[in-house]
């Protein structure tokens, strides 16, 4: 099966119904995308399929064929992703960090769609992502902080 992961073409020999999550983690070796619940209830496994935030734990790999899969390892190469990662650093969002790959992927997709999100936008985009350390207040502030960051002239990566 031919996949495009973070701009690279990757061939994998896996069952068609295998979720993207396990293809990334156990076959391709990209472990930044996290396993949290397996039922699309926590958001830790969020990746982008053609820019759309997607729960990789319930997305069969066959549904990702022909689409661009972007993971936490490469989201910093996009402008929204880069801004979000920097905002996470500037506002010291992270505690244990395990859910943050998914949080950052969800936030980057939000900013790509809505560069100046309202609180309601943030609630809608982020409420599928659980954080047990309780970093939500800082995530909200960091998304607003990222939204205020000027877009840099040069594209990173």
């Amino acid at each position: 099966m031919q996949l495009t992961i973070n701009g690279r073409d990757v061939t994998v020999d896996v069952p068609a119904d295998m979720p993207v999550l396990w293809v990334l983690r156990d076959v391709v070796g990209l472990t930044g995308t996290k396993f949290g619940c397996g039922i699309a209830a926590c958001g830790a496994c969020t990746v982008h399929l053609d820019g759309t935030p997607t729960r990789s734990c319930v997305t069969p790999v066959s549904a990702a064929v022909g689409k661009r899969i972007t993971t936490i390892e490469a989201i910093g190469e996009t402008q929204p992703g880069k801004k979000v990662q920097q905002a996470w650093l500037d506002l010291e969002v992270v505690q244990c960090g395990y859910c943050q790959s998914g949080q950052i992927m969800a936030a980057a997709a939000l900013l790509a769609k809505r560069p100046h999100p309202t609180d309601a936008d943030i609630d809608a985009a982020m409420s599928g992502n659980i954080c047990r350390c309780g970093t939500y207040p800082r995530i909200r502030l960091a998304i607003k902080h990222a939204a205020r960051t000027p877009t840099s002239a040069t594209r990173g990566g």
Partner: protein
């Protein structure tokens, strides 16, 4: 060679590869609030090692683990402050498992938990840094033939201002290692601090935002297989039968491992393992707990609560005083079993070879992981290596090594390394749960409404009796009693009793705050009841009882002020207040605002916390821990509940283990009191103070006093 100074805390010597190596130890004192403290002298057991390399690099080998609480920043801050280096100049290594070398000074063995790290290591870590700095300055002074007092250290160099000479630590490390260890080096005065008390950036954040931080679950090894597991759904049950052929037919499934109480499917990847497990059609012999329900547990606790307990604190004759009081109040409070649901599901990777065993995991108790691996594999301790990782949440769950034991049992039957990963369902249903507690509490008030007597009998299992048996003394579990015996209110007659009652239907253990989290709910709800009975404002009622506890009074006043106590609220909202003090030596007061919908759904609108944790190392981390602790506390208080039916846990995943989400998160404000008191713990207080603040706010909003957590809709529905 290392030279050990028996009179001193510190050792120093040449590091492998050159440079200065420094370690230290502290006399260990188990943290047991209600038990006498008897220091246990240990052999030389440094709590961390510092290595100053000939390249000038400073490495701190951390015995404490990082699970989000900021230890990998706070500890380097303490070291860097006294060693006169920048925080950016400290490199960190996870320490290997070693109880002797990396004992937590407050436990006496290698453990991270109980909000003890800064409390226990604040002075030792600084002393080590100051000693290293003094030795490096002495080495420079000797080389320049000047007085050490004429030199100073700055950002990893020693400077002789008079002559303008400067040498980096790297050039001095080897010479410093030859010098005697100085006695009693002076520590900085707080006004000289450059780092302590400043909001330092966390050192672990960059790797975590890029997705490259390695958690236990991220381990990848050549030839590694992935296994997932199903343990008996009923505690004490055993494997009866399974359909192995069906599972083995799934592509990628390699092996079925049978244990007496569990089955693991070993595969090329998690997907195959999960499918294999589902295909096994396992049948269990449920054993003696086959029919147990949550009602049986409560019945057992209630019966135990009718019997006198072991007295943990006694002042005056509380029972007699209550009998003669103008007003008597009594109540039963209950707190449910709770799951941890750390975001990183339980996992452990093991490679058992004939001559050794390696373990890769995230653990709060590394040496215990090593010990269980040695025991299960039958190998000597020194043949077992545990590689620790970042923890995707601890909250007490990773103070247990049940999952290491299980993974080694599985790995013994597997050729090559195997990563055992629990599904979320397995994680929820085989947790080591916060115990169910059942409390009987009573008070007597004088004619003016002031309490003259207080009795509190708390009933539940003893975690310490299992986890740290020497700490369970005279029938008292200091952890279960933590907070209850620290009652700060000025009441003339007090009796606190503990009834140990083990149900044995679920494994129980630590959960962010355990004893204090449950006791603060009981105490602070009941104080609110007394205020209502006395027809007094809940803030004023508490305040009048705190003349002898000025730090408690100060946080209460600050929370009330910042939390707009007394100001008018929109219709339908209520405001609650709670105060917390315990063996963590931290004072927190919280004001919470809630509303309750007609169907009984509680919404938290605003939370204000005032915190006095003594000297603050990293104020940003303190705030983050309180914010996170409050959110953890809201999840627990509103929805947290693990129940049993036919011996089985009824919940399984985040659809029925409800936790707070972004859209439900209130505004949270944290106000810090600055003083020079000894540092207290900060990981758990935010959680402990939240449930009673919410329950009191619910009472203010609805007039309903909820004495049984969680604050669920079925207790609050009005429509």
């Amino acid at each position: 060679m290392d030279r050990v100074s028996r009179r001193e805390f510190l050792i120093a010597g040449a590091a492998a590869g050159g440079g200065l190596l420094l370690g230290w130890r502290i006399e260990a004192q188990p943290r047991v609030a209600a038990a006498p403290r008897t220091p246990t002298p240990l052999e030389f057991a440094p709590n961390a090692f510092i290595r100053v390399g000939t390249d000038g690099g400073v490495t701190l080998i951390m015995g404490q683990v990082e699970m989000g609480q900021g230890m990998y920043t706070s500890m380097p801050m303490l070291l860097a402050e006294e060693l006169e280096i920048g925080l950016d100049q400290v490199r960190l290594e996870h320490a290997p498992s070693d109880d002797k070398r990396y004992a937590n000074p407050l436990f006496g063995f290698q453990a991270t938990g109980g909000s003890t790290s800064v409390k226990g290591l604040y002075l030792p870590m600084r002393r080590a840094g100051a000693t290293a700095r003094t030795m490096l300055i002495a080495a420079a002074a000797a080389r320049w033939n000047v007085e050490p007092a004429s030199c100073r250290a700055e950002r990893g160099s020693v400077i002789h201002a008079a002559s303008g000479r400067r040498l980096g630590y790297g050039a001095l490390a080897a010479a410093a290692a030859e010098l005697p260890i100085p006695d009693n080096v002076p520590l900085k005065r707080p006004e000289e601090f450059k780092l302590i008390g400043t909001p330092a950036k966390r050192l672990d954040t960059p790797a975590k935002v890029k997705g490259v931080a390695q958690y236990g679950i991220d381990v990848r090894l050549p030839g590694m297989k992935i296994a997932t597991v199903a343990a008996s759904p009923v505690l004490g049950g055993t494997l009866a039968s399974l359909d192995e052929a069906k599972a083995m037919a799934i592509p990628g499934v390699r092996q079925i491992v049978r244990l007496d109480d569990a089955v693991a499917v070993v595969a090329d990847h998690m997907w195959a393992a999960k499918q294999g497990l589902a295909a096994l059609a396992i049948r269990w012999d449920d054993g003696p707990n086959a029919t147990v329900s949550i009602a049986d547990v409560v019945e057992g606790l209630a019966a135990a609560a009718a019997t006198p307990g072991v007295v943990a604190r006694k002042e005056g004759d509380a029972a007699a005083a209550i009998a003669g009081a103008a007003t008597k109040l009594e109540a039963v409070y209950q707190a449910p079993f709770l799951a941890h649901t750390t975001m990183e599901p339980i996992n452990c990777t093991v490679h058992v070879r004939p001559d050794g065993c390696e373990v890769w995991t995230g653990s709060q108790v590394l040496a215990r992981a090593q010990a269980t691996a040695a025991q299960v594999s039958g190998l000597p301790l020194e043949k077992v290596v545990v590689h620790n990782h970042f923890l995707g949440g601890g909250f007490g769950r990773r103070l247990e090594v049940d999952y290491v034991t299980q993974a080694v049992r599985i790995a013994r039957q597997v050729d090559g390394p195997v990563k055992v990963v629990w599904s979320r369902e397995e994680d929820v249903q085989h947790d080591v749960y916060r115990p169910y507690y059942y409390d009987r509490i009573a008070a007597g008030l004088d004619a003016g409404g002031r309490p003259i007597a207080w009795t509190h009998r708390l009933v539940g299992p003893s975690i310490l009796a299992r986890w740290l048996p020497p700490a369970f003394r005279n029938g008292l579990d200091g952890d279960a009693l933590d907070g209850a015996v620290h009652l700060v209110y000025d009441i003339p007659a007090i009796q606190i009793e503990y009834v140990r009652h083990e149900e044995g239907v679920l494994n129980t253990g630590f959960w962010r705050g355990v004893g204090v989290t449950h006791n603060t709910f009981v105490i602070e709800s009941f104080i609110d009841e007394l205020a209502v009975a006395a027809k007094t404002d809940p803030f004023a009622y508490r305040h009048a009882l705190l003349d002898k506890a000025p730090r408690a009074r100060a946080v209460l006043e600050l929370a009330a002020k910042e939390g707009s106590w007394g100001a008018t609220l929109p219709a339908g909202r209520g405001r609650g207040i709670a105060l917390m003090y315990s063996g963590w030596d931290t004072y927190v007061a919280e004001v919470a605002e809630v509303s309750v919908s007609p169907v009984g759904e509680v919404r938290v609108h605003r939370v204000v916390c005032a915190v006095d944790c003594g000297i603050i190392v990293n104020p940003d981390t303190v705030k983050a821990q309180i914010e996170g602790g409050v959110i953890f506390g809201i999840s627990g208080a509103l929805w947290g509940e693990v129940t049993l039916k036919n011996g089985r846990v009824e919940q399984s995943n985040f659809h029925d283990v409800r936790v707070l989400r972004m859209n439900e998160t209130p505004a949270i404000e944290v106000y810090l009191i600055r003083n020079g008191e000894a540092p207290g713990g900060i990981g758990e207080p935010g959680t402990a103070v939240t449930a009673p603040a919410l329950a009191n706010a619910v009472f203010a909003a609805t007039g309903k006093r909820i004495r049984k957590l969680p604050l669920k809709a079925d207790q609050l529905r009005s429509a």
